[in-house]
Symmetry: C2
Subunit: 448 residues, 2 copies
């Protein structure tokens, strides 16, 4: 059954007030499908639909929805029902949701919640969003190293409701310091009477609570972990980051890279409103507009050359465009490379040298091609030389700019977002026109 | 200890022939770190280093290395040792590695391997690479529904060596059809005497063997699964795709999106050779070069207008650049949106309408700005109007081109790679110059 069919069926059952029939359908749905259904339902049915759901189902639904719709749901539920639902939600998702709520509303919700749930989520909310602390959950089961496997399994059975997405039990000592890890798999393979300290893996890798989420994600990806424990400066276990959150981090980071490359402004997706999208895109565009005007004013300085050989203009879009294209290509290689590579001096030098060679090879090939075309078109070998040599030089410079600018920014700790695709393209426009018309002006006497 | 320190230590131990000291260090390393060490070692030490590793360690190493270095390692090992190592490798990684080897070499390796291993990997190699079959492993543990939990755990204990990255046991019937799934967690929580059919989850989601890897990845991400079973058309269980492979798919797909947006050519990373990188980038660049020349030849048609009002040229880079920028922004939104959205008619119409509004708002803002600047700069209101109105129109068209072209390509099943960023930028160049000089020529009599 696809979403449209589901929607029709849900509306039918609501119209006929068949609560139980609707529940039978809903029980079959994964949280993701439930959220798809909610989004597809016309707004006038939302309130009634929510009254047909169990608290558990509303919690599942909320954890899948984007913040705008979450707020709508909370509003429809009211404080009391909302806090009941919040008690059931996973703490990390709850903390993300609450981070968008106004101060006073937040107080209301928190005070209506269970005391320990509310305390635990407030603690999570205190960590910066894009760090290990910001994406971890603090609902996990810990065991002690002197437990037997039987005791560990018993404790696990008691608290299993809390550990939906966690695949390891973490072992701590009397000071709550992390000393080891045992996977569900280890527990299954062990004898019930064995001691945890004998079967646990004690060289457990953990991450500091303030580590950047991208680094956490890299670590989990490199080592194929399902989860990684998060500790404070005293090695006290504070929480767990799980692999499903890491997938979201990778998608988020890839989107950010693409936003940088296209200067398309922060987080615009299919459901962003037109005015919001415009406001997010405009700052970049206005900056680029003025840079474009500066480029144009450079031409002002070459007015004499231009009016003497108008044909020079015909090759301007091609030269500027090609320099921009090759710069964007290099930029893409660098930005994506940073996702999986650690930047050491050796790597940087190798990369810059490689790109220089690439720029030269591309420059020679394209320069020769254009030399031929331009010479034939304009019937003038000198003219062909000017265009061909200009292209060779601008392609090398364009490649270098696309490689070095983001590397420098990254190295000195500035977000390479500043080196976004259109910005490099626009800078390359300036370089290329200066070089092209500079060379042309120098050899002008040979042309006329 | 970082990679450089490790490298120095490894070379020291090799020089002193201290095999055991080196082993003590190596045992502490995760496969990822082992691969980092191998890459950092100067090539002359590679052979000796390999002789110091156990077969298991070489298998771990191979599974982390990129194909170029894998081939080098196999060559150094020789057929006999290589096939011993291959017997230990995970089948999915092995199949990927072998897919790059020449036909005759492959025969040699396969015939030196264990019969069932070789048969099993050959089967995996028969599936296309970017499908569920291409990324799945066929080493998994199945159980029957009439087993007790105790029997299931016993079977798991026997075959545990095979199931490194799998977190569920799959339940099949007498025809090997998939009928349910049990997680390690379920097994831990259950009583040993319970029947599998009573604790298994029978509405198990599976994917067909030919499903595109991107869809498989989306499914795992949406439902927060750790693995998903792969079945053939008769619902017979054929293999498992695990979450660690899915992370790699997301990174791969994001890289592909960025390659499309920047037309930077297939899979160029930090270690690609300069000539290879040039050859991969050149086809696009040469195509774009000719489109750029066509753009230039358009200007040829407006030669008279140009020579009469040279100042028109000053605004050409800005107008062409801005149209390209806004097109790239829209393109990025569409390409990334396709990662997490399903394209229904409703979604498409909403998106196109949204982007039209965005284009108009951006166009009006930037048009007014440029009108002001151009009027003051050139001291001519009509001139300002021509530039401002041209920008308004080209921005709307640029936004629309960046939205509609990739959507159409996607809809009719052509890879939107064709609608790469530079291509849209170049097309927008043509549109914008035609509009700009068209408008200018129409109102030329008012200017001079």
């Amino acid at each position: 059954m696809n979403t449209t069919q589901l929607t029709v069926l849900a509306i039918k059952y609501m119209r006929e007030a068949k609560k139980e029939s609707l529940q039978t359908v809903l029980e079959e749905l994964h949280p993701y499908d439930l959220a798809e259904l909610y989004r597809a339902l016309p707004e006038k049915h939302h309130f009634r639909f929510l009254t047909y759901l169990t608290s558990k189902q509303i919690a599942d639904l909320l954890m899948e929805l984007e913040q705008e719709i979450q707020m709508e749901v909370l509003h429809k539920l009211g404080i009391e029902k909302s806090s009941k639902v919040m008690d059931i939600m996973d703490n990390d998702d709850l903390a993300d949701m609450l981070s968008e709520i106004s101060e006073e509303k937040l107080e209301e919700y928190l005070s209506a919640m269970h005391k320990d749930e509310s305390k635990s989520v407030q603690q999570l909310m205190s960590y910066p969003p894009e760090t290990a602390g910001g994406i971890m959950t603090n609902e996990f089961v810990w065991i002690r190293d002197y437990y037997s496997v039987r005791e560990a399994v018993d404790k696990f059975k008691t608290f299993a409701g809390l550990t939906r997405n966690i695949y390891y039990l973490y072992v701590i000592d009397e000071n709550k310091k992390l000393v080891g890890v045992v996977s569900y798999r280890d527990l299954l393979l062990a004898d019930l009477n064995e001691k945890i300290e004998d079967i646990m893996f004690s060289r457990v890798l953990s991450v500091p609570i303030e580590m950047d989420q991208e680094e956490v994600a890299q670590l989990i990806q490199r080592y194929d972990f399902l989860a990684v424990p998060v500790v404070d400066e005293k090695n006290v276990l504070k929480g767990i980051v799980t692999v499903d959150d890491v997938i979201d981090v990778f998608i988020e980071e890839a989107n950010e890279d693409i936003e940088k490359l296209s200067a398309s402004g922060k987080s615009i997706d299919f459901s962003t409103k037109a005015t919001t999208a415009s406001f997010r895109r405009l700052p970049w565009l206005i900056l680029l507009l003025f840079i474009g005007l500066i480029t144009g004013s450079i031409l002002d300085g070459f007015e004499q050359t231009l009016s003497q050989v108008v044909a020079l203009i015909f090759f301007m879009p091609m030269i500027a465009g090609m320099t921009g294209n090759t710069g964007t290509q290099s930029l893409a290689v660098v930005v994506r490379g940073l996702v999986t590579n650690t930047l050491e001096k050796r790597t940087i030098l190798k990369l810059v040298w490689r790109e220089f060679k690439v720029g030269t090879m591309i420059g020679i090939t394209c320069g020769l091609l254009v030399f031929t075309v331009a010479s034939i078109w304009q019937g003038d070998l000198v003219f062909g030389m000017i265009v061909g040599i200009s292209l060779l030089i601008t392609l090398i410079i364009g490649t270098m700019a696309g490689t070095i600018i983001p590397l420098i920014l990254y190295r000195i700790g500035i977000d390479p977002a500043v080196a976004s695709g259109p910005l490099i393209t626009t800078l390359n426009d300036i370089f290329s026109l200066l070089i092209y018309f500079g060379i042309a002006t120098t050899f002008l006497h040979l042309l006329i």
